[in-house]
């Protein structure tokens, strides 16, 4: 899986298919191979004492899919869900995770040489989740490293939670 994750950015002369979506004023992208489907908003069941960016779980045809609110994950202010709000269901390794995004734009083909390594800072988003920035004309697509999005500091959050649980 690690191969799938990283390899396309290293190749040249090829294009990468990317599902792009909006979050605030920025445009993000994930490798289409990692996207399983895109759904309209459904009822999300809250999971108490889960990490704060975990919205909860949804029922996707009998399967429980945990949902991450990307705005919360990236420390952006939360907004009301609109008719454009989508759940992008991704599959990373054997893990399926849904991500709440403001809207989904389109599928882009980005030549791999147009994808640059993550710059040191991008407003609003911690660079640890970013795997590169794709350029399409004057558009900048922030390519997400999904593995990091779903793990990363969440471990720390969980540990804090458990300590609280013990002391409570």
């Amino acid at each position: 899986m690690a191969m799938n994750d990283k390899a396309p950015t290293k190749l040249t002369g090829q294009t990468m298919q990317v599902v792009s979506f909006a979050l605030g004023s920025e445009e993000y992208g994930v490798d289409i191979a990692q996207v399983q489907e895109i759904n309209r908003m459904v009822t999300i069941t809250h999971v108490p004492r889960a990490p704060h960016f975990m919205e909860g779980v949804i029922n996707l045809r009998g399967q429980l899919i945990p949902i991450i609110d990307l705005r919360t994950r990236f420390g952006m202010p939360r907004t009301e869900h609109t008719k454009n709000t989508r759940i992008v269901v991704t599959e990373i390794g054997s893990k399926r995770v849904g991500m709440v995004v403001d809207s989904v734009s389109e599928v882009l083909r980005i030549p791999t040489e147009q994808i640059e390594d993550a710059p040191d800072m991008i407003a609003g988003v911690e660079t640890e989740y970013i795997r590169g920035v794709g350029k399409m004309g004057d558009r900048l697509i922030i390519m997400l490293d999904l593995g990091r999005v779903i793990s990363g500091s969440e471990k720390r959050d969980l540990e804090t939670l458990e300590t609280e649980a013990v002391s409570a």
Partner: protein, 678 residues
């Protein structure tokens, strides 16, 4: 040697694992049967043939997968069986012991080969011993018959194992030594000394005399005994020394229990053998589903064609509605049956676990110089595959404890007016939605006072703690409760007992211990039949529906707020004279701080004799639910054990009663003593 040479090598390895596991089990029972013939000296040729076949198959499969060591050991064991089969060797206890040991080494090697693990030590020396053992008889036969045994030597040479060269040296030394030994004692028995000879005599003796050391060794689930030094450097011993060594021939004690101990801990078997009838039934049901699907789509099509035509209301739409109702009823029936069938497919008889105990009891009883009968009942009881896989380890610890600490030595038993041989009973049966497994012995029972003293000594409790009998017994299952200094059988139980408790709780089971001093101990565990579907009580908390597994629910109550009192800052109620701590589920999950000023709805849940009242907003009835794990992306949430999908597609989280009860009782020992129920 992993996924390199063949694309689907893993599939072969999986098949090898399944097949070999079965064969090793059957070899085990063959050996146990064979052992019954030792006294008479006659061999049932059918048993030997079966042994031979089993070993031969393992050898062949291992050869295909290039597991050289497995192949080598299987081959040499086969040689020994061949001698038996051809009547070139009398059946002796030492021979059976050697085969038992070989079976264990083979098991360890198979596990090592499959999991790319480290091969156990001492394989080489064991192979040497096998060779020398076999060679004695071959030589004898040669001398007696004056024949050349051409087929044996041919067979020995065509399968060249990497150890061959090394063997020869050891081999020759052994032969010389054993022949000397044999010369001094006319019976074939001296040859049996060979397994023990390579050990320094004192060490071998220690292995059997010092029970504590042996226990420690077993506990470590040891990789083969380091004491078994390669045979090669052994300086030929005078025949006189062979005799005392022969007395400790059973000394493989530290090594032989390895396999039964290791089997459950080793690689999990992820496949299942299914009765073809069960699959056929499933297939039929799926066939019905498919037919029904066609029917429903027909109805949908007809309906959509006529939906805007009011004229056809009576003659088209009304019959369609009836058809749809029929189809839906059929669908309901079929899906129910499919659900039942698929659960049955997952069910396997618990005998798969019980089967390994005759051997383990035999070995341990010998090592402890006890006489023990094992009685097994209910081996055909079906339960979910995952539970069968998990239950082996706790059962093993329990049985081992019965042998170590429960059953007394024969002399003691006679002095107490009991039959010389102790009895351990393993029993399994269904009771409602649960399966009950009992492990019972007629030994000395648990000495509560001793357990309490030990608990105090080890700092688990203090002198001041007032504990119920049940709580004292539970001390045994505490991780810190060690048996480090136990030398006699008075010290109470404890070897690996924390594992027992942990595993049973993980399986959502409960356990109970009945012990009568001097009469024996009965350990009962109740496990759910399956982990996938349970009955649950639905409750509403802060506008979310939560499920509480019904097997933990004792009752639900609606009581006045004024009846809630506080003890040590925690809320409690008194229920029929018993103090029950309360947990407000909404607050536990940080959902709400709202409280009904007049009434509280309480679900009383109980586990292991401890009760807790869960305060909820309302009760929403019972339902059968399918348990689904929460994604590991979310991680472990305290108080939540999973989730389920309700009829309307919404999700209900399942409350983890174990962790809630534990958190209610975690508030210090005083509180625990005060709250302790029953």
């Amino acid at each position: 040697m992993s996924a390199d040479d063949f694309f689907d090598r893993t599939e072969f390895v999986q098949y090898f694992r399944d097949e070999t596991e079965e064969l090793l089990q059957s070899i085990d029972s063959d050996l146990l049967r064979l052992e019954g013939f030792v006294d008479s000296g006659n061999v049932d040729p059918e048993i030997v043939a079966s042994l031979f076949r089993g070993l031969h198959t393992i050898k062949g499969s291992a050869g295909m997968l290039d597991f050289k060591e497995v192949q080598g050991v299987a081959h040499k064991l086969e040689n020994v069986c061949d001698l038996l089969r051809k009547d070139r060797m009398p059946l002796s206890e030492s021979c059976v012991n050697l085969l038992f040991e070989g079976r264990d080494i083979l098991t360890a090697l198979v596990h090592a080969a499959i999991d790319d693990g480290v091969a156990p030590e001492g394989v080489q020396s064991f192979m040497d011993r096998l060779d020398s053992f076999a060679s004695v008889y071959e030589t004898t036969a040669k001398v007696i018959e004056g024949t050349n045994l051409p087929e044996m030597s041919a067979e020995q040479h065509d399968e060249t194992t990497p150890v061959e060269q090394h063997e020869i040296d050891a081999f020759e030394a052994e032969v010389a030594r054993l022949l000397a030994a044999q010369a001094s004692q006319s019976a074939p028995e001296p040859a049996t000394a060979s397994p023990a000879l390579p050990l320094p005599a004192t060490q071998a003796a220690a292995g059997i005399v010092d029970a504590a050391a042996a226990q420690a060794a077993i506990d470590a689930l040891l990789a083969p005994e380091p004491a078994a030094k390669p045979a090669a450097p052994a300086t030929p011993k005078p025949a006189a020394q062979a005799a005392p060594a022969a007395a400790v021939t059973q000394a493989p004690a530290p090594t032989s229990p390895t396999a039964p101990g290791k089997a459950p801990a080793g690689g999990k078997n992820l496949t299942i053998r299914v009765d073809i009838e069960r699959l056929d039934m499933l297939l039929n049901l799926v066939g019905e589903l498919v037919i029904n699907r066609t029917r429903i789509s027909d109805i949908a099509n007809t309906l959509s064609r006529n939906v805007n035509d009011p004229n056809h209301h009576q003659d088209v739409v009304v019959p369609l509605a009836k058809d749809l109702a029929d189809s839906s009823a059929l669908l309901a029936r079929t899906t129910n049956e499919i659900q039942e069938s698929i659960m049955k497919v997952r069910m396997v008889p618990i005998g798969q676990v019980f089967d390994r105990f005759p051997r383990m009891v035999r070995d341990l009883a010998k090592a402890r110089n006890k006489e023990i009968k094992l009685e097994i009942a209910g081996a055909e009881t079906d339960l979910d595959k995952t539970i069968v896989d998990e239950v082996g380890e706790p059962l093993m610890h329990l049985v081992r404890n019965n042998i170590d600490h429960g059953i007394e030595e024969p002399d003691v038993r006679i002095a107490r007016g009991k039959p010389r041989a102790g009895t351990i009973k393993l029993n399994a049966y269904h009771e409602g939605n649960q399966v009950i497994i009992e492990v019972q012995d007629d030994g000395g029972g648990i000495q509560l006072e001793k357990v309490r003293e030990r608990g105090i000594k080890q700092g688990l409790i203090t002198e001041a703690d007032r504990l119920t009998d049940r709580e004292i017994i539970e001390l045994i299952f505490t991780p810190g409760f060690s048996t480090a200094e136990q030398v006699t059988d008075v010290s109470g139980r404890g070897v690996g007992m924390d594992v027992v408790k942990k595993n049973i709780l993980r399986l959502k089971g409960v356990f109970d211990v009945d012990s009568v001093l001097g009469e024996g101990t009965k350990f009962t565990m109740k496990l759910p039949l399956t982990l996938a579907i349970i009955q649950a009580l639905l409750v509403r908390v802060a506008n979310e529906l939560y499920s509480i597994p019904l097997d933990a629910v004792i009752e639900s109550q609606r009581i006045d707020t004024s009846d809630v009192r506080t003890v040590h800052g925690g809320e409690v109620i008194t229920l029929r004279g018993q103090v029950v701590p309360l947990i407000r589920v909404g607050e536990f999950f940080n959902l709400t701080k709202e409280r009904d000023p007049d009434k509280v709805m309480i679900v009383i849940v109980g586990l292991q004799g401890r009760q807790v009242g869960l305060v909820v907003d309302s009760f929403q009835g019972e339902q059968e639910i399918v348990i689904k794990p929460l994604s590991d992306v979310i991680g472990r949430i305290p108080g939540i054990s999973g989730a389920t999908i309700l009829g309307n597609g919404s999700i209900s989280l399942i409350i983890d009663v174990h962790s809630l009860v534990a958190s209610a009782y975690a508030g210090g020992k005083v509180a625990r003593a005060e709250f302790s129920g029953v």
